[in-house]
Structures are given as structure tokens and as C-alpha cells.
């Protein structure tokens, strides 16, 4: 039969139910009359005929029910009936309902929020057409762990031109420039790329044209493609913008195009896109690693094939250029994977953790339902005796669960909405796409499924138990199941305790490693230090003299801020995310070029070390005499001395550096040794570092650092002072150094807070569950306890007896949880610093917390047990 008629027949009978019931009744009456007539005709007395007819037909109501159950609509009807009945039951037990719905809402809400985060960060495809084909190509150190570093232009050109697996490939790097010539200098995010960017990202300008390959040459590179937002802000969205000129760092750039509104590259977005203008001698710069490379795979090519392809090319390059490429390799991976490499494990661990929370919530509700099922035994047995099938009863109990799940799910969505707002506002900024988290369609689906799943999970055991009731149980009025139910409930509780213990242990380890990290000395003192980035337009500051003069002026001006004790400047600043390194050779030691060591390079003013409180350990620090024209000098960090001068004799040695970070080749004599700084954060290692005087560096951007009690609160006036020197200079926001330190721990704090919250939630739920079960067992045993007291049991004995049961449950759960924790905390090993996964102190403390909470949860009902008056208890029932 056609689906249509199945549906229409069903609907018709649903709507004409009343008429059809009437017809059926009449039909049955006629049938009964005929039967009676027939019997009378066969010679029975009318009474006897009636009796026999009734016997033969059986219960008319049951018969009607049988007829009704033909067709799908009957299932819906009985479901609606169940829903109505269930709703009535839930309303009648408002206390139970509120607790169950809240418990579920917390579990489901936490899961929904966590899933939304994972959906936005890990699952949602990148916002480019056919983004799965975009692969990251990165230089890596030969035979070392893959870590997708930057690449040199010649390597990039060779990969691009020789590969057989990529359709297109491009290189890029980003920087910040000043938009000048339009009032106050403005900060602009600039992305420099090769011409392949448009075809690789499959994104094209809505206005104007793309870069041409020949524009990737110095001199031809002064063209710019605008982002949609920049176009709107600067040109009011006028199509006339194309062909106009804008000043970036005081250089003219011709606008050639505008990108679509939705286009963002990188994911955080850029304001302008400019071609990289390579110098003519670019092919000689094989050692200059500063480009990031992305490619679009040819149709049908897998990442692994591309990886092999490029590794083959790189093997050739190693042979061709042993001096520069000998230690380099290349790796290819899906871009989306590389982006989330660091956060994936943490987010998945958190998702697993909330999964456990919802399991605990389900166990709790299951427990509550079981407790209620025991009191409802009579009702259910009665319905069974009246002819309700086992399946029908189980369905009824499951429907009640479903109602709870729907209410819990809806409330959970609301909680998740709030949680996500908080996550977007306060979450760490370095998790890609965390800011774009929303409750979208797939999250709704997830919430629906997890709600239904929980309904099944917590409804199943009670449903099975209720359907297993025997109608004959009604006769024996005291059903023997409570004790058995208590055992079942104890097992559920043990499970809850074990899961809580696991989560607590994980959270404890994260907290301990976070606290440990906060205490780590990064090699400088961030308190009372304000930092301001400065970037000079190089058209105006095109000589080293002009630069030196500006830096001196800026530091002098900054020291006029009240209560300032020292002002310095440096580039790059620790925790700024910027870094700079160069290879060098040591005069007097003959090292072939390919084996040249490399180290981090910083430029710093004399007082930088005073502001940051980086100690000068040997020799001298920089002085104002180390200026342009004076002999070039260097400071070495302690770890640089350890690494490159094992004999400790560093002072007086002369080093030659290659070109790096805007500095020309230069040399210098080591005049002092300073303390190590953890440049990339307290969880990073101290790297060998050399400092050059800022005045001798010729750098056109640096960060001014200002120390003074309370200087942090004067950030605006400090910034204004610097702006007033020259309005063409790009003056960044004034950021307290402590904020940079906090930001560097942002991800860790985020993970710690979330896992901590989940663990606390789990423990609370488990404690409430424990409290409920013990209270219930006390209520059940009121008589028994009364008898014991009457026979002379002391309060202490009663207290101990009740507590023992609860603490046994908690203890067994704790042991199981401890074992699970030992087995599973390995998954968060990557998130721990300075703490082993089986850290006895952490595990001991969390176990103590769990036992303490369990103790309180048991003590409250146990105390109630001690107050049982035997006379009252014995009179019960």
C-alpha cells in the first residue's frame, strides 16, 4: 500500500476517532445480538444465551482496544497518553522533577557548550571553498619532531616549481604597518603573499584584480588588495577606490582590488594584502626562513603523497645546497590539522570529561527513579494486574524519562548559551576560531541526541525493573525488592564516585601544574611594567642616526610619566610572540658555514635590563656610550655561554652575525653576561640568546618598557606622550607586562578552569546521589533502627552503622576511580608541566577531598538516624 494512504488513513482515523468508536460499538452490539439470537434459536434460554455470548466475546473493552491498536496512529495515541500521564506524575512530584531536571540540565548544558567549542574549533571546515584540499607545507629540522616552521624563499620556489602533487602553492607572512596620510597613523594588519594566494584559497576579489606574478619583485610590489572591512572603513565601499593610492609606512601603494566580505586570511583576518617584493638576489637567501607556505592539492592527491613528493624534492635540495639546506627537511599536513594541533587533545579530553559528567547525572537520575519506582511498586503492579503489558509499562516509565530529558535538554541549552558567552568573552585568544562559537544546527542535533541518549540511559534500568514486576506481587503486599534495589543503587553510586575521582584527579593535576607555572621565574619581573609597541615609518626614519635619535627621545619622554623609575626599549619583547634568530660564527674558531651555530637575537637599550630586572652576571651591561659609531658590543645570556663557550670564557670573544630581522650583517664583542629569560612563556625553555644595543641595531620598531609603581594605571597618558612626539609613528596599545604573562598561560588557565568546573560538578552530583541513597536507606530502616535503639544501641553505634554503608560505597568508588585515574591521566600528559601523571600528592589530596565530601553527604542522614525515637519508629506501619 502506498505510503500516502497509510498516512492519510491513520490521520483520518485519528480525527474521526469518536465517530469510528461509535460505529465500532454499534457493530459489536449487533454482533452480540446476533449471537444471542442464534443461541436462543438453538434452544438456550435467553439468560443462558446471553451469558454464553458474553463468555464467547470476552471483554468488549479489551476487544475495542485490540481494534484500536491496528495501525500506527494507535502508537502515537498511547504515547500521547503516556506523555499526559507522565506530565501529571512529574507535576505531582515537583521536588523530584526540579532536582532531576536541574541535574540533567547541568550535564547536558556542559556537554552542549563543550561540543559547540569543539564544533567551531575542530570540526567546522575552514572558511574556504573545498578547504580539505589546502595543505600546510613547512620546513622542519631534519630527523626532529615535525613542527612546521617557516621556510626560505628559494626552498619555496623550488617546491612550487618542482612538485607534482599541488595545483597551486603560495608563501606568506604577516606584519603590522602604519596607514599614514589619512590623519593619525593607524595600525593596519598587512599580509604579504605571493600571487598564488588567490587560486590556492579559491577566493577572488569582488572588485579589481589579483596580484600578478611579476608583482612579486621589489619595485613592482607597491600594489594592494583591500579587505572588505578596510574598504568600507576607508573608502565607504566606493568602487572608485580601485586605482587610488594609500600610504603604508609612508610608502605609496595602488589599490588594485577588494576581497569579498566573508574572506579572512589568516583566520583572524588582515586589513590589506600586498605582494611580497623579492629582491633580485632572493635565490641566494636559502638560509632566511621567514615564509609560511600553503598549497592546494591536485584533485585526487592525498596529503601523504604530497608529503612524499616534497620530501623527495627536499632530499635533492640537501645535496645541491649542503651549506644551507643540510639540516632541513619538509613536511606536508592538512592545514586544518596543523592549526589545531596543540588544542585538539585538550579539547577532546574536556569533551570526554563532560561526557563523564553527564554519565554521573544519568546515574543520579536513575537512582532517583529507582527510589521512586520502589514507592510506585503498588501502582505499577495494579496496572499490570489490570492487563497492561510488560512493554506497555516499560514504555510508560521510559516516556516519563523522555519528558525529563526534554525539560533538561531545553534548560541545558539555556545554560550552554550563557556558558558560551562567557567562553567567547573570557576564553584564551590563541585557540583558533574560539571566538566564532555559536549554538548552531549541529549543536542542536547534538543536544537532542544526548538528551534522548540520557533518557534511555537513566530510564532503562527503572523501566526494566518496572516491567519485570509480577501481577501476583499485588497479593503479597510487601514486595521483597527494596533491598535488591538498594544494592543496584549502591553500584550506580560506586560508578559515580569512581568517575568523580577520575575527574578530580585530572583537574588536580592541571591545577598543580598551573600553580607551579605561576611560580616559575621567567627571568624577569613583570609587575609594575607597562609595554608600548612603536613602529616608525621608514620613509621618515631612513637613517640609523634618525632612528637612534627617535628611540632616545621616546625613552626620555616616557620617563616623564610620574613615578617612573626606569625606561627601556627592546625588540623582540618576551611573550610578545615575536622572535628573531641568526646564525653566527665565532672569530678564532674555524667552523664551516653549514655547521654555524644559531642563537636568538634581541636588541635592547641600556636600561631595558633594569626595567625588566634581568641581572647582569658578569662583565658590564650596555651603557649610553654603546651608541652608533662606538665599537659594536654584545651581551650573552647564561645559556648562550653554557652552549657556545663551555669553558666559560665568553667575554672578549667576537661574533659575526648574518642578516636578521631588519638588521644588516654585523659583528660584536661580548662585554657581559646576563640572566636567562623564558622568552616564549614560563612553560618554555631558556634559549641561548645574544643582545645587541638598540642604538646600534638600526631597528625601526621596538617596544618601550616603563617601570614604576602604579605606572600601569597611567597607560593612556604614557601612550599620549609617545604619540605627541610624531603622529606618523604607530603607537600600539599600552599593555601591562603582567597581562602578557597571564595571556601566555591563557590556554592552560582555560583548560584548568573547565576541567576543574566539570570535576566540581561531578563531585557535587555524586555527593547529592550519595546523600539521597543514604537518606532513603535510613527511611527504609526506620523500624529496624528503632528496634536497635530500643535494644540498647547507642547513638554512636547507629551513626557508625549508617555511615559505614555510605563510606563503603565511597571507598570502593574511590579505589576504582584511583585506578582509572592512574590509567587515564596519561592522556593529559601533554598539558602537565612539572607534575607526573601519578603525582601522589595530587592524588592523595583529591582522594581526601572526595572522602570529605562523601563523609558530609553520609553524616547528615546518619545524624537523622540517631534521632529516631524507638517508640515512634515501632508504631509505624
Amino acid at each position: 500500500m502506498a505510503l500516502f494512504s497509510i498516512i492519510s488513513n491513520g490521520l483520518r482515523s485519528l480525527f474521526r476517532r469518536r465517530r469510528m468508536e461509535g460505529e465500532l460499538e454499534e457493530e459489536l452490539r449487533g454482533y452480540a445480538e446476533d449471537t444471542v439470537q442464534e443461541k436462543i434459536r438453538a434452544g438456550e434460554s435467553p439468560d443462558e444465551a446471553m451469558r454464553q455470548a458474553r463468555l464467547e466475546m470476552g471483554s468488549v473493552d479489551a476487544l475495542k482496544q485490540d481494534v484500536r491498536e491496528v495501525g500506527w496512529e494507535a502508537t502515537i495515541e498511547s504515547f500521547l497518553l503516556d506523555v499526559r500521564f507522565g506530565a501529571r506524575m512529574l507535576r505531582k512530584n515537583a521536588g523530584f522533577t526540579i532536582i532531576a531536571v536541574l541535574t540533567l540540565a547541568l550535564g547536558i548544558g556542559a556537554n552542549t557548550a563543550m561540543f559547540s567549542v569543539i564544533e567551531a574549533v575542530l570540526l567546522k571546515p575552514l572558511p574556504y571553498s573545498d578547504a580539505g584540499k589546502i595543505a600546510r607545507v613547512g620546513s622542519t629540522r631534519l630527523n626532529q619532531e615535525v613542527s612546521f616552521g617557516s621556510s626560505s624563499p628559494p626552498d619555496f620556489f623550488d617546491w612550487r616549481d618542482q612538485n607534482r602533487t599541488f595545483a597551486t602553492m603560495f608563501a606568506f607572512y604577516s606584519t603590522e604597518v602604519a596607514l599614514t596620510g589619512r590623519g593619525e597613523a593607524q595600525h593596519v594588519r598587512e599580509l604579504l603573499a605571493t600571487a598564488g594566494i588567490f587560486s590556492t584559497l579559491a577566493a577572488h576579489p569582488i572588485l579589481g584584480r589579483e596580484f600578478r606574478t611579476e608583482e612579486n619583485h621589489m619595485g613592482a610590489d607597491h600594489v594592494v588588495v583591500l579587505s572588505y572591512g578596510f574598504w568600507q572603513a576607508q573608502f565607504g565601499g566606493s568602487p572608485e577606490a580601485v586605482g587610488q593610492t594609500i600610504q603604508l609606512d609612508s610608502q605609496p601603494y595602488v589599490v588594485i582590488g577588494v576581497m569579498p566580505e566573508a574572506f579572512r586570511f589568516p583566520l583572524s583576518g588582515s586589513d590589506v594584502y600586498v605582494p611580497i617584493g623579492f629582491r633580485d638576489n632572493v635565490m641566494t637567501q636559502r638560509g632566511a626562513h621567514y615564509l609560511y607556505v600553503l598549497g592546494r592539492l591536485t584533485d585526487g592527491v592525498r596529503v601523504a603523497q604530497a608529503n612524499e613528493d616534497l620530501k623527495g624534492i627536499m632530499a635533492q635540495l640537501r645535496k645541491l645546497y649542503p651549506d644551507k639546506d643540510a639540516k632541513w627537511d619538509v613536511a606536508v599536513a592538512a592545514w586544518s590539522n596543523v592549526l589545531v594541533k596543540d588544542v585538539r587533545t585538550a579539547l577532546l579530553v574536556l569533551l570526554a570529561a563532560v561526557g563523564l559528567v553527564v554519565l554521573i547525572a544519568c546515574a543520579n537520575i536513575s537512582n532517583l527513579l529507582l527510589a521512586r519506582a520502589t514507592t510506585r511498586t503498588r501502582e505499577l503492579t495494579m496496572r499490570r494486574a489490570l492487563g497492561a503489558g510488560r512493554l506497555r509499562l516499560a514504555r510508560q516509565v521510559l516516556t516519563e524519562g523522555l519528558l525529563l530529558a526534554v525539560l533538561g535538554g531545553a534548560t541545558g541549552l539555556l545554560l550552554a548559551h550563557w556558558a558560551l558567552n562567557a567562553i567567547v568573552t573570557f576564553g584564551p585568544k590563541d585557540i583558533p576560531r574560539l571566538g566564532s562559537v555559536t549554538l548552531n544546527g549541529s549543536v542542536w542535533w547534538f543536544t537532542m541526541w544526548i538528551s534522548l541518549g540520557s533518557a534511555l540511559l537513566f530510564g532503562l534500568i527503572p523501566a526494566l525493573r518496572s516491567s519485570g514486576l509480577d501481577a501476583s506481587g499485588l497479593v503479597r503486599s510487601s514486595v521483597s525488592s527494596p533491598r535488591e534495589a538498594l544494592k543496584l543503587r549502591s553500584w550506580l553510586l560506586i560508578g559515580e564516585m569512581a568517575l568523580s575521582m577520575m575527574l578530580l584527579a585530572g583537574a588536580g593535576l592541571l591545577i598543580r601544574s598551573f600553580v607551579g607555572l605561576r611560580a616559575v621565574n621567567a627571568g624577569f619581573e613583570p609587575t609594575d611594567v607597562l609595554t608600548i609597541d612603536l613602529s616608525l615609518p621608514n620613509a621618515r626614519y631612513n637613517t640609523s642616526q634618525a632612528l637612534e635619535m627617535y628611540w632616545n627621545q621616546a625613552m626620555a619622554r616616557a620617563s616623564t610619566v610620574p613615578s617612573v623609575t626606569a625606561v627601556g626599549a627592546a625588540y623582540p619583547l618576551p611573550l610578545s610572540g615575536d622572535d628573531c634568530s641568526s646564525s653566527f660564527d665565532i672569530v678564532g674558531s674555524s667552523i664551516p658555514e653549514k655547521d654555524q651555530p644559531s642563537a636568538r637575537i634581541r636588541a635592547a637599550s641600556p636600561d631595558y635590563f633594569r626595567v625588566m630586572q634581568i641581572p647582569v652576571r658578569h662583565g658590564r651591561g650596555f651603557t649610553d656610550a654603546d651608541r652608533l659609531g662606538a665599537p659594536r658590543v654584545l651581551l650573552a645570556s647564561s645559556s648562550a655561554v653554557r652552549t657556545f663557550f663551555p669553558d666559560g670564557k665568553a667575554i672578549g670573544r667576537i661574533l659575526h652575525f648574518g642578516a636578521h630581522c631588519g638588521q644588516e650583517k654585523n659583528e660584536g664583542e661580548i662585554v657581559g653576561i646576563v640572566g636567562d629569560v623564558l622568552h616564549d612563556g614560563v612553560d618554555s625553555a631558556a634559549l641561548p640568546t645574544f643582545y645587541t644595543p638598540l642604538a646600534q641595531s638600526g631597528l625601526d620598531s621596538a617596544t618601550v618598557v616603563i617601570r614604576g609603581a602604579g605606572v600601569v594605571s597611567q597607560s593612556q597618558s604614557a601612550r599620549k606622550l609617545l604619540q605627541d612626539i610624531d603622529h606618523q609613528v604607530l603607537v600600539g596599545e599600552a599593555v601591562p607586562m603582567v597581562d602578557l604573562v597571564d595571556g601566555s598561560l591563557g590556554q592552560r588557565r582555560f583548560y584548568m578552569l573547565l576541567l576543574g568546573a566539570f570535576a566540581a560538578l561531578a563531585l557535587t552530583l555524586a555527593a547529592v546521589g550519595l546523600y539521597g541513597v543514604i537518606s532513603y536507606s535510613v527511611a527504609q530502616r526506620t523500624q529496624e533502627i528503632g528496634i536497635r535503639v530500643a535494644l540498647g544501641a547507642t547513638r554512636g553505634e547507629v551513626l557508625g552503622m549508617v555511615m559505614r554503608h555510605g563510606m563503603q560505597v565511597a571507598g570502593v568508588g574511590l579505589l576504582i576511580g584511583l585506578l582509572l585515574a592512574l590509567a587515564l591521566t596519561r592522556t593529559i600528559k601533554g598539558l602537565l608541566v612539572g607534575v607526573s601523571t601519578g603525582d601522589p600528592i595530587t592524588l592523595g589530596c583529591t582522594a581526601a577531598v572526595l572522602l570529605g565530601v562523601a563523609g558530609v553527604a553520609c553524616f547528615l542522614p546518619a545524624r537523622r538516624a540517631t534521632r529516631i525515637d524507638p517508640a515512634v519508629a515501632l508504631r509505624l506501619d
Binding site: 457493530e27 449487533g30 481494534v67 492487563g387
Partner: protein, 117 residues
């Protein structure tokens, strides 16, 4: 268990449907009559009670093989007569064909003697 069927226990649902269709193929009939007719024709082998008949009517009507119509009976009582529809007639034919084929096959198997195979 509700007292549903005594003699019909061995009859599969589909078979009862076929018997009802066949009865209605002879002439339109009301519920009681159909039960009587089945009992008569089968020489009392099948005694179908109301508990089986009415759900079956409902089912067949839902499938569109029979349809109900209120008419007056010979004793002038209003009763719901069931009529075979075209679809029902077709269904009966195909069912009958299949039944014949099956029963012949089963009979042959049951009566098979040694050496015959």
C-alpha cells in the same frame, strides 16, 4: 491472557484475512455473518470469535481491501456490511494462487514415500 480464540490458535493471521476476503467474494456480509459463514463452510473446523474478527476487519479496511457500508439486515437491524473492493479481489486472487501452490507443494512433501525421491 484475554480469552481470544479457542480453535483459531493454529491459524496464522494472514490465513484469517484470506478466509474473510473469500467469504466476502461470495457476497457482502456483516461481521456476525462472516464468522458464521467461515464456520459453516469449514464444517465447524474454524470457529472465529469476535476478538479475532474485528481487528481483522479494521486491518483489511485500512489496507483498502474491504470497505464497510451500513445496511439493513434480513431481520431489519442496522448492520455494517463489508464489501470486497477491486484491490481486495486482486489480493484474494494472488493469495489463493499462492496458497494453492504452497499447499500442493506441502501435500506432496508430506505424502512422499520412500523411493519416490
Amino acid at each position: 491472557m484475554s480469552p481470544k480464540s479457542e480453535k483459531l490458535q493454529g491459524i496464522v493471521q494472514g490465513t484469517l484475512d484470506m478466509l474473510i476476503l473469500k467469504t466476502l467474494a461470495l457476497e457482502p456480509m456483516h461481521g456476525y455473518g462472516i464468522g458464521q459463514r467461515i464456520e459453516q463452510i469449514s464444517n465447524g473446523v474454524f470457529r472465529v470469535n469476535a476478538g479475532s474478527l474485528f481487528p481483522a476487519f479494521w486491518r483489511l479496511e485500512r489496507k483498502g481491501w474491504i470497505k464497510g457500508e451500513w445496511r439493513a439486515t434480513e431481520n431489519n437491524r442496522r448492520a455494517k456490511y463489508y464489501l470486497l473492493t477491486d484491490a481486495g479481489r486482486k489480493k484474494l486472487q494472488s493469495e489463493t494462487r499462492e496458497w494453492r501452490a504452497q499447499s500442493t507443494a506441502i501435500a506432496r512433501i508430506l505424502e512422499a514415500e520412500r523411493g519416490e525421491v
